[in-house]
């Protein structure tokens, strides 16, 4: 069982605001989902290597040269709030 405190902790890690109703509902749903997922723990996979990418890629590199990218104006044009050439945010707490 996931406690309400754990749900609040994870929501905080994810920077996700949740109402008290949502906390309760999501807690119950996470319990049910995790119950159904438990079965993967019955497999003994101690010696099995993990797969992070199905094509088994590693260290894909490109030439590190300058190239045209977004202009500052383009990058900023959808900013919810800007101050001159910067993204503006509320007080950092």
């Amino acid at each position: 069982m996931i406690s309400e405190e754990q749900v609040r902790h994870v929501a905080n890690l994810a920077r996700l605001g949740l109402t008290d109703d949502e906390i309760e509902k999501i807690g119950g749903q996470l319990d049910a989902i995790l119950d159904s997922i438990e079965k993967i723990r019955e497999l003994d996979l101690a010696d099995v290597p993990p797969t992070a990418n199905p094509l088994d890629l590693s260290n894909v590199l490109r030439p590190d040269g300058p190239r045209p990218e977004l202009s500052q104006e383009e990058a900023l044009f959808q900013a919810p709030e800007r101050v001159e050439d910067l993204f503006a945010v509320p007080r950092i707490d």
């Binding site: 754990q6 994870v10 994810a14 438990e38 996979l45 797969t51 890629l57 959808q78 707490d93």
Partner: protein, 483 residues
């Protein structure tokens, strides 16, 4: 309704050929699509945004550029609203991106050139998370076969648009069945290419190790042509495959004589509706009659696919959706401090399923649970890949149903995540292994379409498409525009 020789009766490749031959203009095609959308969209809600004016303008530009055009360029395209389109808002079915306007087209669209004829952005589950298109901030899409039922998801808008003739073909994305399952439920063809075959650059990420862009079409030949248009290496996506793109149309009609096809018993049993299983069995018999060697191909770990998927995908989501923080674009809800701004923005911007997946993923990755869940799921993924390797040593193509049921009713599963997730049981193994898979309509059950899924090894789309074309020929189903 259009006349007897309606452009809406044509497949995309037939329309492309008429445009190429100068029999029809791209502008006429765009007009026909716009008109059809105007007629049925109130009932279907396949689109978040329609772009009739832009479609006409771009179609005229394509017409003016005759000579040196790719065959596919004149046929208007429906684009799922998770693929970035320059100058056309791209919402991902989410409130948090309600007014987001990308600065460039997704790389998958680049072979359509600057004049991509987009008729609209198709509705989908929020950030492509769902199996019914009910998790959209822009209302559910209805299944053109039965307006009380879901079209599947997450690419439900794309599937419904093609089924309703609101365009000839569409792009969807498939992370755990999101192209194939809605294609199955709407009676069209849905192709998930090999992971990395199509660039993800400009596709707003859901689960980066699983996501792939795929064609949703009226028939298999249309799917092959659209794959031709979108496949290829892209330096802007480091996971895109630097593998030559073959001609997907050349061997399409070669048939299944001598092809080894393995029916997957684990995906034919428990949880699969009898009517769905019967269609899959009938198609397998039909392929045998057409000359294929049909046997049984076990995937012993496929029962662990769904739980592994529902750890890996949410874990990647919790990371990928961290970028929606109200700072650089999208919704911002004001607050005194920056942390409260993040929390409020995400609380108001995300819907219930997105929140659920973020929470599940953040939990599975959090300290103390990482090894038990995420690391274990990655190892299950290795086992599933090994299962496929063993199966492909004996068979060229594997066969199963695409989805366990026909289209279900709107509202039936939306508050029951486990019932909803069970829709993906046949689809997720191919995503975990990164192999290509396709859903082809196999027939009807209860008067609704049933999809048959074919899977093959990495980068063997030509074989997969050939088998899919033969499946289409033995199936008791022809595309019909609904409603």
């Amino acid at each position: 309704m259009a006349g007897s020789h309606s452009l809406l009766d044509l497949t995309a490749h037939a329309l492309a050929e008429e445009i190429e031959a100068g029999e029809v203009s791209a502008r006429e095609a765009a007009e026909v699509a716009n008109t059809r959308i105007g007629e049925v969209e109130d009932e279907i809600n396949a689109f978040v945004t329609t772009t009739p004016g832009l479609a006409l303008e771009r179609a005229e530009a394509v017409d003016a550029r005759n000579g040196g055009r790719n065959l596919w360029e004149g046929v208007p395209l429906v684009v799922k609203d998770v693929l970035s389109t320059r100058g056309v808002r791209t919402t991902c079915g989410s409130r948090i991106l309600e007014n987001f306007e990308p600065l460039y087209d997704a790389s998958a669209l680049r072979n359509f050139g600057d004049d991509l004829i987009v008729v609209g952005k198709a509705n989908c589950d929020e950030f492509a998370m769902g199996s019914s298109t009910e998790n959209s901030a822009y209302g559910p899409t209805r299944n053109p076969w039965d307006l009380g039922r879901v079209p599947g998801g997450s690419s439900g808008g794309s599937a419904a648009a093609v089924a309703a003739g609101e365009g000839w073909w569409a792009l969807g994305t498939d992370t755990g069945g999101s192209v194939r399952q809605p294609a199955a439920l709407c009676g069209i063809v849905g192709l998930k290419p090999t992971y990395g075959r199509v660039s993800r650059h400009g596709l707003i990420a859901f689960a980066s190790s699983l996501d792939v862009v795929g064609p949703m079409t009226r028939d298999v030949r249309d799917g092959a042509l659209l794959l031709q248009a979108i496949a290829g290496h892209d330096p802007r996506d480091s996971t895109s495959a630097n593998v030559e793109v073959p001609d997907y149309l050349t061997n399409l009609e070669d048939g299944v004589e001598g092809l080894r096809i393995g029916v997957v018993p684990e995906l034919m049993g428990e949880g699969i509706e009898p009517g769905v299983r019967e269609v899959a069995e009938r198609v397998a018999s039909g392929l045998e009659g057409a000359g294929a060697e049909v046997g049984e191909a076990s995937l012993p770990h496929s029962g662990y696919g769904l739980p592994a998927y529902y750890i890996i995908a949410p874990a990647e989501v919790s990371s990928n959706l961290a970028r929606f923080d109200g700072v650089r674009y999208g919704l911002r809800v004001s607050a005194d401090g920056v942390h409260e701004m993040y929390r409020k923005t995400r609380e108001e911007g995300f819907g219930a399923e997105a929140k659920r997946r973020i929470m599940l993923g953040a939990y599975a990755l959090s300290s103390g649970y990482y090894d038990a869940y995420y690391a274990q799921a990655q190892k299950v993924r290795t086992r599933i890949i090994e299962d496929f390797q063993a199966a492909f040593a004996r068979y060229d193509v594997l066969l199963s149903p695409t989805a366990p049921t026909v289209a279900f009713e709107i509202g039936e599963k939306v508050d029951d995540p486990l019932a909803m997730y069970a829709n993906d049981i046949c689809a997720v193994p191919a995503n975990l292994a990164g192999i290509p898979a396709i859903s082809v309509p196999g027939g009807l059950s209860e008067g609704l379409p049933v999809g048959v899924q074919l899977m093959s090894d990495h980068f063997t789309e030509p074989t997969l498409l050939r088998a899919a074309r033969a499946t289409e020929q033995v199936a008791d189903f022809r595309y019909q525009m609904k409603p």
